[in-house]
């Protein structure tokens, strides 16, 4: 298969998988599952869809990256993890203590 057809197909596959994962996430609301299960399904399909779009739309493929690009992305994710994770951790803890 030529590179052109392969790349065109990659966008279509990415879109189809995204539609599927979005449909799963949205279907949890009318299905009225237990709250824990709903959260888990929404979370898993969101993470999977982010990976799908990174792979098929943004062409992030770890094996072919130049090193500094990969380091940039990983370092940003580390900073984000510390700031966002830390904020949520500290504030939910505070909220529980103030109940």
């Amino acid at each position: 298969m030529s590179e052109e057809r392969r790349e065109r197909r990659s966008y279509l596959i990415g879109t189809l998988l995204s539609i599927l994962l979005t449909a799963i996430a949205f279907a949890t609301i009318p299905l009225d599952l237990p709250r824990g299960g709903t959260m888990l399904l929404i979370g898993i399909s969101a993470v999977l869809q982010v990976i799908v779009q990174l792979r098929f739309f943004l062409h992030i493929d770890l094996s072919r990256q130049k090193r500094e690009d990969l380091q940039l992305i990983l370092f940003s994710l580390l900073l984000l993890g510390i700031m966002a994770g830390g904020t949520i951790w500290i504030l939910t803890n505070l909220s529980q203590r103030m109940m």
Partner: protein, 207 residues
């Protein structure tokens, strides 16, 4: 298989200088995207910390304000626009001509405008129900997060118009090739952020 110089769709060796020159600009744009990601991430954290009954301050909550159908349609518009944006990138890479590139870009802009129209209608409905940003801490963080994404989409629409004017006036020059690559990264990135927004804000709010 041509060698990839940067993350994202590469023009490929057949584009010669434009392929080489785009390396630095695209890397620089990734630095911007990652700092933008941190801005969004911190707003997500603020939102998550504010979506408690205390932070809703007795005001209207998610069940009274969110409309699943509208959120679904916005998601569909944005996902479709991501696909058409990818088609514009491929039209550029495989030299299908400026008309084809411009056509896909215009479709992307129309879908983006459809998304924005629905989002603004939802905001107007919420405000009509008394859910202004000033009503509660939860609503402040909601408008900050969803509104910032909406502003990014608005900026993207202006960007498409500028790109279309440049293609019309100057044709597909090397400089414009690099700008199209960068725009595609920006637009796909906004779709990524939207996955977070519909999951964390709308679906989690209605669950």
């Amino acid at each position: 298989m041509s060698q990839n110089l940067h993350p994202g769709l590469n023009l490929g060796a057949s584009h010669g200088d434009a392929h080489q020159q785009s390396e630095l600009s695209v890397f620089g744009f990734w630095v911007f995207l990652m700092s933008d990601l941190i801005t969004f991430g911190v707003l997500f954290a603020t939102y998550a910390a504010s979506s408690t009954p205390i932070a809703m301050a007795g005001g209207p909550g998610p069940a009274a304000l969110f409309d699943l159908t509208s959120t679904g349609m916005q998601t569909a518009f944005l996902l479709a626009s991501s696909l058409t944006c990818g088609m514009a990138s491929l039209a550029l890479k495989y030299r299908e001509g400026p008309r084809r590139i411009a056509l896909w870009l215009a479709v992307t802009a129309l879908l983006g405008a459809g998304f924005l129209a629905l989002e603004l209608r939802d905001f107007a409905d919420m405000i009509a129900k008394g859910a202004t940003p000033m009503r509660s801490g939860w609503l402040s963080s909601l408008y900050a997060l969803v509104g910032l994404h909406g502003l990014h989409i608005t900026a993207g629409l202006v960007w498409i118009v500028v790109l279309l004017l440049l293609i019309w006036r100057r044709g597909v020059t090397d400089l414009i090739k690099t700008r199209l690559l960068i725009f595609a990264l920006y637009w796909h990135f906004l779709d990524l952020v939207w996955i977070g927004i519909f999951s964390v804000v709308f679906l989690r709010g209605l669950a």
